[in-house]
């Protein structure tokens, strides 16, 4: 741009210098990370929080306990393959499991909008109860608040999970090592595309169902396989790409993944093609990523495949010493693509 006028308006503001919260701040991408680092961590800083894991380990009277919390806002509340109730149970139990802990109990907090139909509430609470009892983890405390009509979108749920830590099994985001192989337990992109297809305005008919599931049983198979699993992560919002970026940054390794082996179901791929989205950034709620020493890869794959949720487990890449903190994808043609964190939400595109 060479045209310089004496009364030049300011250049476009940097995209992160916002004065208000935007949807992108909840996307799991760069904006979320910036919000965390710039707003929450300075005020609430402590050693446990600073590690930015799925939760934290605290010592309660000599016993290591894992605590994790998550808040669920999803539209629509009921979607193919699940609803906000079961999702709120699975999501938090999965976070506890990703720290290698055995979930012991859950708490649940509800924010309800005035006028919300009680029959839908009943269905959601029943679904929550079913999910909790299937996992064998009771909801031991709860809270309900009601806000005026228009002050919330129907129903929000927060759940907190408590788990018993296992000194022999402590995967953590900073424990990835160069040479580790990266394993995914199943198909990617299902939850996010199931939700997006159901959204008003996009209205696609698909057969895609959310993968929302409790991963506690699957993690138990890994525990009993007696393998030193370095990292476990459930790639929820922001998808596999964001989770791998966080692990690469936390561990100071590079990550290389192979496009040709990524398990993207045909219907997810088709929906992504139509909307111009990348399945690597689409949310999942029922798969995990594992970084394990190369020599243990076969045992880990066998352990995962022995469980129905891990039947499709496979190796998708490895951790390397090169490009620390970055994720690179080897394309099917042999080219390289950098898989960076997105600034905010992935949006449907025409171009």
């Amino acid at each position: 741009m060479t045209a310089v006028s004496p009364v030049t308006l300011a250049c476009p503001v940097p995209l992160v210098a916002h004065d208000r919260v935007q949807l992108g701040h909840g996307s799991g991408g760069k904006m979320s990370a910036a919000l965390l680092r710039q707003r929450f961590l300075p005020a609430l800083a402590n050693e446990a929080l600073a590690r930015l894991g799925d939760g934290s380990m605290v010592n309660v009277a000599g016993v290591d306990v894992v605590v994790s919390t998550d808040t669920f806002v999803v539209s629509p509340l009921e979607f193919p393959g699940g609803d906000i109730g079961s999702l709120a149970v699975h999501g938090t139990l999965n976070d506890v499991a990703m720290m290698g802990a055995r979930p012991v109990c859950l708490t649940a907090g509800f924010v309800l909008e005035e006028g919300f139909p009680l029959d839908i509430l009943d269905r959601i609470v029943r679904s929550m109860a079913d999910a909790a009892s299937l996992a064998g983890v009771p909801v031991v405390a709860g809270d309900t608040k009601v806000v005026e009509r228009g002050k919330a979108d129907g129903l929000y749920i927060n759940t907190t999970g408590i788990g018993a830590a296992d000194a022999q099994f402590r995967p953590a985001p900073e424990r990835a090592r160069a040479g580790d192989v990266v394993i995914v337990s199943g198909a990617i992109g299902r939850h996010g595309m199931a939700i997006m297809a159901a959204r008003e305005g996009l209205a696609f008919e698909t057969t895609i169902t959310s993968d929302s599931a409790c991963l506690v049983g699957l993690v138990e198979r890994l525990r009993t396989a007696r393998v030193d699993v370095h990292v476990l992560r459930d790639p929820t919002r922001g998808g596999v790409a964001s989770a791998l970026n966080e692990i690469a940054a936390a561990s100071g390794v590079g990550v290389e993944i192979d496009e040709t082996v990524l398990p993207v179901p045909d219907d997810v791929r088709a929906a992504c093609e139509v909307l111009g989205l990348d399945p690597l950034y689409v949310a999942n709620e029922g798969i995990l990523l594992a970084f394990v020493p190369a020599e243990d890869a076969e045992r880990v794959l066998a352990a995962l495949r022995s469980h129905p949720l891990g039947a499709g487990a496979l190796q998708i890449g490895r951790a390397i010493t090169g490009h620390p903190g970055m994720v690179a994808l080897r394309t099917s043609l042999g080219g390289t693509r950098i898989v960076d964190l997105l600034p905010g939400d992935q949006l449907p595109r025409i171009c």
Partner: protein, 107 residues
């Protein structure tokens, strides 16, 4: 500019004078405006869809032909490669053969 995806017409209908239809993209279906291809488009035909509009027909015979040409080209090329390697090897053994362009181009 232009994300256009090929899909198969699985339903045709008229919405108060506008030709509409349902197009299947590998299992994902969406309502699409067929007004611009309505003179040609039949059930089962493939169309290129951009922002909810069919903007052109997919010519299945041409699609097949293009793909075959590409495939043959790649196979011939691999053979061409072998020739070249052999010739180069020969040349390096001291023979006077010059390495020539393989030129296995499909018109």
């Amino acid at each position: 500019m232009c994300l256009g995806i090929p899909g198969k017409i699985v339903e045709l209908r008229d919405d108060t004078g506008l030709a509409m239809g349902v197009v299947d993209f590998g299992g994902v279906r969406r309502e699409v405006c067929l007004a611009y291809v309505q003179d040609e488009a039949r059930l089962g035909d493939y169309v290129i869809v951009h922002v909810g509009f069919a903007i052109s027909m997919v010519d299945e015979a041409e699609a097949h032909r293009t793909f075959e040409v590409l495939r043959e080209m790649s196979q011939l090329d691999e053979l061409g490669w072998l020739d070249e390697v052999a010739e180069a090897a020969e040349a390096s053994r001291g023979s006077a053969t010059t390495v020539t362009q393989t030129g296995s181009r499909i018109p």
